[in-house]
Amino acid sequence: MTTSIEHRLRDGGLGKGDIANLERRLFLRHGLSFGALTLLSGCDVVTNTDPVDRFLRMISGFNDGVQAALFNPNKLAPTFPESMVAPEFRFNAQYGLGSIPVLNPSTWRLKPSGLVADTRAWTLEQLQALPQRADVTRHVCVEGWSMIGKWGGVPLRTFLERVGADLSARYVGFRCDDPISYTTSIDMASALHPQTILCLTYAGKPIEAKFGAPMRVKIPTKLGFKQPKFVVEIRVTNEYPAGYWENYGYNWFAGL
């Protein structure tokens, strides 16, 4: 029951502080309910989770390697008929609808950085002039839900080639202009996957503000949180760039 309320609050526009307050109140009410795991591990997970959490994150790092090995760079995500495209897509963000940034498409710039030959910023028109592709694919959220949509834009591979990126580098990181300064990063193999795009359209129309206008990254071979919205910088690097949810313990590779 509480989770339902939490989700509605999260989707409905309350800030993180509000949710934290609510959480504190919920904890006072339900604080004693947690117990099974404490008995199981023989230590107080509530106040002393850090060593356990570190160990679990280490295994998550191992799972990154397993997933990279399972990832077939030539295997396309399944596509669906256009009739299956959701007319109204589900909104999901760490901030509410009231805090969505509205970026001006005419002043918006995309900055390539790191191991690239040309760091000149790109305008939206320049991206629109590049070759485009669109796929009807399934979007899978780490929370468990999935939805089918049609996303179009510039293959990230094309963009990386145009800016003279070192395609043998390990990572591609993304920085976003949103209320939480969202960041995330992916492996180069996934970045070069043919369906990985700098997404400009949904169902043939420019993407809406709440879905990351003017440009969000769409990766049908990754979970939703690896597909950042409001992207303003793409960094090619060999140093692990981590990311917002990854730093909170969500698995980094998060491949599908």
């Binding site: 989770t3 939490e6 099974a36 313990g249 698995n251």
Partner: protein, 225 residues
């Protein structure tokens, strides 16, 4: 001399994998319920105390969420514990002949005779010897485990295991299969634990491996070595 009055009922490897497997299943179960809670398939949630992923407060502090990240970390760690236990047990038990001796064959005649005995209230329970109903129960649990592993793969990697996903309605279908498989395993656990409580003498040998020689079954003496 003590040794003469006891027999080794469960080899060490069976006992170790039994309990690591148990641990793996319990962690997968608890964390799985918490993962379910983040996007319920049906019109109900599981109370937080039945799940693994930390209290809401701890989850908020560590993972900035309501327990999903913690549950996922536990789930994808326990997956390896279960996988390793299952692999060691299956490879060893097939190679040593344990599997063939203990679980095969399961005949319809034996099952129905067991059920009749059970209904009449005098189903024999010899330590170390599985009757057909037990064999069937364990076979069903094994099938459920395999279904869980396969549907888990489709949920984890719906693109890479797309072909496997065709068997179960892809990602969304696999969510139902994985949930129902979980239900089947919980059902097995309920029956398995209930039977243990009815016949408590079977519990200690699963820990120590030893049973009094008086409990020695008349069948398959070779198994006792």
């Amino acid at each position: 001399m003590q040794k003469d009055r006891h027999i080794v009922l469960h080899p060490m490897i069976v006992r170790i994998t039994h309990w690591t497997w148990t641990l793996g299943v319990l962690i997968l179960l608890g964390s799985g319920l918490r993962i379910y809670n983040s996007e319920p398939l049906f019109d109900f949630y599981f109370p937080t105390w039945t799940t693994i992923g930390g209290s809401n407060e701890a989850a908020n502090r560590l993972h900035n969420d309501f327990g999903l990240a913690g549950a996922l970390l536990w789930h994808f760690a326990a997956m390896w514990l279960l996988f390793a236990s299952l692999l060691v047990f299956l490879v060893w038990s097939v190679a040593s002949g344990h599997f063939q001796r203990k679980y095969l064959p399961i005949t319809a005649r034996e099952v129905s005779s067991n059920v009749r005995d059970f209904l009449k209230g005098h189903l024999a329970h010899d330590l170390g010897v599985r009757n057909a109903v037990q064999k069937l129960l364990y076979a069903a649990a094994l099938v459920a485990m395999i279904v869980m592993a396969l549907s888990g793969l489709v949920l984890w990697k719906p693109v890479q295991f797309h072909t496997l996903g065709l068997l179960m309605g892809q990602y969304e279908g696999a969510r139902y299969v994985h949930f129902l498989g979980m239900g089947a395993i919980v059902l097995f656990l309920v029956v398995h634990i209930a039977l243990t409580l009815l016949v408590p003498k079977v519990l200690l040998p699963m820990i120590t491996g030893r049973a009094p020689r008086t409990a020695e079954p008349t069948q398959s003496p070779g198994e006792l070595l």
